[in-house]
Symmetry: C2
Subunit: 217 residues, 2 copies
DNA sequence: CCCCTTTAGTTGCATATCCCACACAGTAAA
DNA sequence: TTTACTGTGTGGGATATGCAACTAAAGGGG
């Protein structure tokens, strides 16, 4: 349950009054829960949709051999759920894991899409907010595809760096995760990525200090 | 402008009466246009959102060296637009190109998100339909990420084949595009992909006849 | 019919990438 | 202090992948 101050910052309940928010929680059978780092948030077994209201989480894929891959970086406003994405087509399992202490709202997706007779005013604002969140999600996934569809490690790195640079509005930016995780994010071998990173540094295309990076141009 | 029969099949105007549909078109300044194969549908210069109502299109990225890559396969119900995905972060250009004769509806995205006082009933159904389409889009993008995040051509192929198999509900399925385009879709070299495909066939993991494929298990 | 484009299929060769291994720093727990 | 663990940085050797080139089949249009 959010406080009135927290509610204003909520991506899902944006522009909804505190009174309406409380009614929605009960009417939609929405559940709000907090998680500590490394806790399992969601295992794609229920039909619920989760929205990250605070903190940070990761969507992880674990294949048959036990190799884990970060599929999504879920910050505030991120949406996840079986019905929304990653239907879990293959034999490997999916998990949402907490990285930094999280607040998450779970809502039954069918409830959102069904046309309910009463409460239609609240409902329609909620749907509108949800649409905005889904658009953001599509943006994030598109960016990911943009990176992954590059054909060399070098191009992947540069593409990703340009994205971060653009997002921060500056040639200097901070990686949202460790270099090891970055290798995972761009789906390449870590040592190969480090080698390529070294080359980029040597030729002056990139400067870096820890997770702080600056690109030329 | 759709006929009444066509309207029923429209993904965006689903559950909207013909009368309302006509009013929405004018109220939202929506435009409906048809395209022939290879025509340019959208160049990411306007803020409009496009919905494919009939036919098939592709979202293409063209990098500085002129190399084209298929980023999305846009079938009926697919949504595209600058504000939705692929902000065009980098220096390369994006285009939506017609593959098979298309009908496309263009709507100003701001119009959809703004809370309009009048016409709220129609509006909310439209938003709900839009949400559904965005969820589908997120699904498609997620599947793409699932494939692209695999670390070898072999794994990419198998992952993609499993997806198609699951979608068709059978071990046998038909590729939605040519093998050349497939190589592009999984972001690898065509000849390397053919080589891997040959191996898969030889060891019996995959059987194929033209674009018809069958996977083992 | 021929021309022209697209697609499928194959191969040799260069190399980018993967895999394994090791060294080192920082940090937290014991 | 040790011990364990995670992240960073580097290198050698094996190989999967990319690149260029070619043949052949299939279709489409004049």
């Amino acid at each position: 349950m959010l406080s009135e101050q927290e509610l204003e910052k909520s991506p899902l309940f944006h522009d909804i009054s505190y009174q309406d928010y409380r009614e929605i929680l009960s009417c939609f059978q929405a559940v709000q829960r907090s998680f500590r780092a490394d806790e399992l948030i969601y295992d794609f077994s229920s039909d619920a949709v989760g929205v990250v209201e605070r903190g940070q989480a990761s969507l992880i894929r674990i294949d048959e051999e036990g190799v884990a891959t970060v599929l999504e970086d879920l910050g505030v406003g991120s949406v996840f759920g079986k019905t929304l994405a990653f239907a879990g087509s293959t034999g490997d399992s999916l998990e949402v894991v907490c990285r930094r202490p999280c607040d998450v709202v779970f809502i039954d997706y069918g409830h959102i899409l069904s046309r309910c007779g009463h409460a239609c005013q609240r409902h329609s604002i909620l749907v509108q907010n949800m649409l905005q969140l889904m658009a953001d999600k599509a943006q994030a996934l598109s960016r990911r595809v943009d990176v992954l569809s590059r054909r060399s490690i070098r191009e992947k790195l540069l593409c990703y760096f340009r994205q971060l640079s653009q997002q921060s509005g500056s040639r200097t930016f901070t990686l949202p995760f460790s270099l090891s995780t970055l290798a995972d994010y761009i789906a390449t071998d870590r040592s190969a990525m480090m080698r390529e990173l070294k080359r980029l540094r040597e030729e002056g295309s990139v400067r870096s200090d820890g997770r702080q990076f600056t690109i030329r141009q």
